[in-house]
Symmetry: C2
Subunit: 136 residues, 2 copies
């Protein structure tokens, strides 16, 4: 079951410059900035409604996000949906022969389970799934 | 005041093929499909949480969405935020010298007020603003 849009990720060359639009001009609140070395990005989290905008600045030129920025320029990067059962969702997508970047869910350092669906299977959108930590 | 992500728009070459992923495989509900000749698109509305995914299929090869599809391929197109006062939001963006596609809000046939912010001003994201019909 898909519960909500968890976040929309935007790739930016420079977080400070991006925050000038999203926070100073547009008026979103900056919750925190976090380094995620495993993904080669610094991330700014901007909650809005029951979703978040995540601004991704590449910190490693070999990262997928850095290569995306070089190829496509700054802008919308991926869309993450919160689900109540990520294993069941991945099984459903596999049964429909949708190509997955992560065949099984990845567990992050803080215990979150997530997986990416390949844009080839979604019509061009990089889709992330994130399992909500509590049944809801 | 920005209340929530109203919708995320995805440009697709063919609605029926796109619905095979978003509805049949992924499990979102299809609320309705609507023709919007003024924008040169057919739109499928897929509610999720308190937002929606909108799939846009160009019906007019001269439309902005058709040109985007030709240039960038299918995928994420724009991000729409619901605001409680669109005139105040546009005034705030103008004061910050953010370039706007619509200097004043457009009113659609069904009375909705909306406006687009130019991607040059947002760091590459086409942002739509939509005024909620009731104060909240």
């Amino acid at each position: 079951m898909i519960k909500k849009v968890d976040h929309i990720a935007v790739v930016v060359p420079d977080l400070d410059a991006a925050l000038k639009f999203w926070v100073e001009a547009f008026g979103l609140a900056l919750e925190r900035v976090e380094s995620v070395p495993r993904e080669g990005v610094d991330v700014a989290f901007l909650p809005v409604g029951d979703s978040e905008i995540e601004l991704l600045q590449p910190t490693d030129p070999q990262s997928g996000v850095a290569r995306y920025l070089e190829k496509r320029g700054p802008g919308l990067h991926h869309l993450c949906f919160a689900v109540d059962d990520i294993d069941a969702t991945l099984a459903r997508l596999k049964a429909a022969e949708i190509p997955l970047i992560n065949e099984t869910a990845v567990t992050s350092n803080d215990g979150k389970k997530y997986a990416f669906v390949h844009p080839k299977g979604t019509g061009g959108v990089l889709v992330e799934l994130y399992e909500l930590p509590f049944p809801c």
